[in-house]
């Protein structure tokens, strides 16, 4: 399976293509309007929301502040529960590790619940190369898998498709599909196709929403029941998670869970909430015989090492920031060319892929702040974007490389231009003179306004600056007071 490949470094071209695609744009606008409304309805009391957010933020910050210690505790308690714990430093290591676990079972048939971290490590492609079939069991993921695409949203992977497009896909891929545009029937068809896969699967792979250090419990939030099937039907369950998902106490979970689902889809609770605390025990009649947990770093410890950037890891992957982002709403998830699109993608991807690949992403924001306003754990996304912009532009001499790709967007011309601007802005008499001359000569000066005038006229400058106006006003009032006049 060759998945259509988008790249962060091609953001501008991909965004341009997306903007030209009217179906895609109306699919996204409609879906995002719907999700925004759902979230709004779920948080009708602003004061309660403010409290919930503050509480959630505190929990995440407390847990991150003890990350190394909590990870050790998690490992110990998972092991005590019979969960086998593995560590992976990067995507490659994780791929190999998971493939070995599957191969050691002699397995070739795998089902996988929705998990962005396995998208991040491109697990499906890797397994397919080894002759292992890995079927997505979440309906949205299943649809994008059939379409040979990657998810375009972290919560709703197939949100960019309308029902017609889904029906066409089923027509191509599912035998005896009775063509229909009824959403209920489409879902029914997908579910039936997946049932067979669950029965055949020898290994089930899932993500993790919260990993509880105190008890060694893995929590999984979902709506379709596919997560429960994936983690209980096959004899082996492999859970994969980024290291930042650990929480300290079991009591940390309910507040995070409640704000997660309400921020994401406006649901107060989801249909399923799985708490996995180990493999099947002696008298139990279901559940896997083996449970594995893979803890993935893949650039996260880089974010962790810097106090400001660490806030990136507070994310609980609700997707609210993308649902409210005016850029995401217009270009959709694929344009970003990253596993995590939208505002969160812009601040986490530089750690996963390096700033050189992602420097266009960090500038692709008007810093409107809609993301920060809705983020349930109060990640200051605009400030982090500004920080990353700064790091990308650091002049080479000031470079203290702690971030992959730091200074990769440094440009001598740009830097010099800003230095001149700063000089001018701090020399008032020259500044005032330059502005006054500017407004006089604007008509005759060639202004590099190419990108501006793509859809706008040049700004109309005043005939004299405010500085000049105020000078006149002052001299007038002086004359007035000298001649005894007043207003």
């Amino acid at each position: 399976m060759s998945v259509q490949h988008y790249q962060a470094s091609q953001f501008k071209q991909q965004a341009s293509d997306a903007l030209a695609n009217q179906t895609l744009r109306s699919n996204f606008r409609g879906a995002m309007d719907y999700l925004q409304q759902k979230r709004k309805d779920a948080f009708s009391d602003p004061q309660e929301l403010a409290q919930l957010r503050e509480h959630a933020e505190n929990i995440r910050q407390r847990c991150l502040s003890k990350l190394p210690q909590l990870l050790e505790q998690l490992e110990k308690n998972c092991q005590a529960n019979g969960i086998q714990v593995h560590w992976a430093e990067d995507a490659k290591q994780a791929q190999q590790l998971i493939a070995e676990l599957i191969q050691s079972q002699g397995a070739t048939k795998v089902v996988k619940g929705k998990s962005m971290v396995t998208e991040e490590i491109e697990l499906n492609q890797h397994l397919e190369g080894l002759g292992i079939e890995c079927v997505e069991s979440d309906m949205g993921e299943y649809i994008v898998q059939l379409a040979k695409e990657t998810p375009s949203h972290i919560i709703m992977p197939a949100i960019h498709k309308n029902k017609q497009q889904v029906a066409d896909l089923f027509q191509q891929h599912i035998k005896d599909f009775d063509y229909t545009l009824s959403v209920d029937k489409l879902i029914q068809t997908g579910r039936e196709a997946l049932r067979t896969k669950f029965k055949q699967a020898e290994v089930g792979i899932s993500g993790v929403n919260f990993a509880v250090a105190e008890t060694g419990t893995l929590c999984l939030v979902e709506n379709e029941g596919n997560g429960r099937m994936t983690t209980t039907v096959p004899p082996v369950h492999i859970a994969v998670t980024g290291i930042e998902k650990v929480v300290e106490f079991l009591s940390d979970v309910p507040p995070l869970f409640s704000i997660l689902t309400r921020s994401a889809t406006g649901q107060h609770i989801t249909t399923y909430f799985n708490m996995i605390s180990g493999p099947r025990r002696a008298p139990e009649r279901d559940g896997p015989n083996e449970v594995h947990l893979v803890l993935l770093d893949n650039g996260r410890s880089q974010a962790y090492a810097d106090e400001a950037l660490r806030k990136t890891l507070q994310c609980i992957r609700c997707g609210a920031c993308m649902n409210h982002c005016p850029v995401y709403t217009r270009v959709g998830g694929h344009a970003y060319g990253t596993t995590y699109p939208g505002p969160i993608g812009k601040i986490i991807s530089p750690h996963l892929q390096g700033l050189a690949q992602t420097s266009d992403l960090v500038t692709a924001s008007s810093l409107c702040g809609a993301c920060e306003e809705v983020c349930p754990v109060k990640i200051p996304i605009p400030s982090l974007l500004q920080r990353l912009r700064h790091d990308a532009k650091l002049p080479a001499a000031e470079q203290t490389p702690s971030l992959k790709g730091q200074a990769s967007a440094a440009s001598w011309t740009e830097h010099t231009a800003w230095r001149m601007w700063a000089w001018l802005s701090t020399h008032p008499s020259i500044y005032n003179w330059a502005m006054a001359v500017g407004v006089k000569l604007a008509k005759y000066l060639p202004m590099p306004m190419g990108e501006w005038t793509r859809c706008r006229n040049k700004p109309e400058l005043a005939s004299q600056t405010f500085h000049q106006t105020m000078k006149r006003r002052a001299s007038k009032s002086l004359t007035r007071s000298a001649t005894g006049g007043g207003r």
Binding site: A364, C368, Q386, N432, T453, A462, H467
Partner: protein
């Protein structure tokens, strides 16, 4: 209102400093004069410091923090007395109120100064509505207006609420709402140049929604957004009367001649 917009306001001072911002300087001196008239009518003396230039935001949002700091520091030094500083744009006020302290947070020498300075910064409509508690007496004919607020003004200061409060005092002006009111107009400083196609999609939608409100006039307390939206309206040849003006100009036109 955004949480950061909740501020405890001081009582009305006798004097204020006036911060025009670089865009108002170049694009709209009349808006600045209108604002001064409105403030003076409240019995507050307005002090104009000629040496001011720009708040530093363009460099800051472009990733040039050192340059932004240099400029910020020079501006902070221009307002020595402890009078409030009234700023003619929400995004510049947001820069001074929220980002100056952030820029100097780890600076041993200037951190306190930046904090103290930020405390004195008020956006124009915020100052007029919450500190002067201005009472406006509408003198104009029946009309309607739609308000556009900058994202930073809205989310960092909550000034959409103070602009609304002022406009709603005008009893012959109907305040119309636009769809997607809180969505960004797509300006974002260098964003509009670096990602011009996305910015275009945003400003096209914004202009359509504002016009769709059916209002006769467009006002805003932010020249960044206005330059963007007006530029687009003009490009489509639809500028005319709907061309956005600064809130101060509109308020002054409607109320001049009235007693405070």
């Amino acid at each position: 209102m955004s949480e950061t917009g909740l501020r405890i306001y001081p009582s009305k001072p006798s004097k204020v400093y006036f911060y025009a911002t670089c865009l108002l300087d170049l694009l709209d001196p009349d808006g600045g004069l209108a604002a001064i008239e409105l403030i003076e009518r409240e019995g507050v003396e307005v002090i104009w410091v000629e040496k001011q230039s720009c708040c530093g935001q363009p460099a800051y949002t472009s990733g040039y923090q050192e340059q932004a700091k240099t400029v910020a520091l020079s501006q902070m030094g221009l307002f020595p007395k402890d009078y409030p500083i009234v700023v003619m744009s929400g995004s510049c006020a947001g820069m001074m109120f929220k980002h100056y302290p952030h820029l100097f947070a780890n600076d041993d020498i200037y951190a306190d100064q930046a904090e103290a300075f930020a405390e004195r910064v008020f956006e124009f409509s915020e100052f007029l509505a919450h500190i002067c508690r201005a009472k406006l007496h509408d003198q104009g004919p029946l009309t309607s207006v739609v308000l556009h607020t900058s994202c930073s003004g809205r989310r960092e200061l909550g000034i959409h609420a103070s602009s609304q409060a002022l406009l709603s005092q005008l009893d012959k002006v109907e305040l119309k709402k636009a769809e997607y009111e809180s969505e960004c107009c797509g300006f974002g400083g260098s964003f509009s140049l670096r990602h011009s196609e996305i910015s275009q999609a945003m400003v096209e939608d914004k202009a359509r929604h504002l016009q769709g409100s059916g209002a006769s006039y467009l006002v805003s307390a932010d020249w960044g957004c206005l330059a963007n939206i007006n530029g687009h309206l003009a490009y489509r040849g639809e500028a005319s009367r709907f061309n956005g003006q600064h809130l101060a100009s509109f308020l002054w036109q409607r109320t001049k001649g009235a007693k405070a």
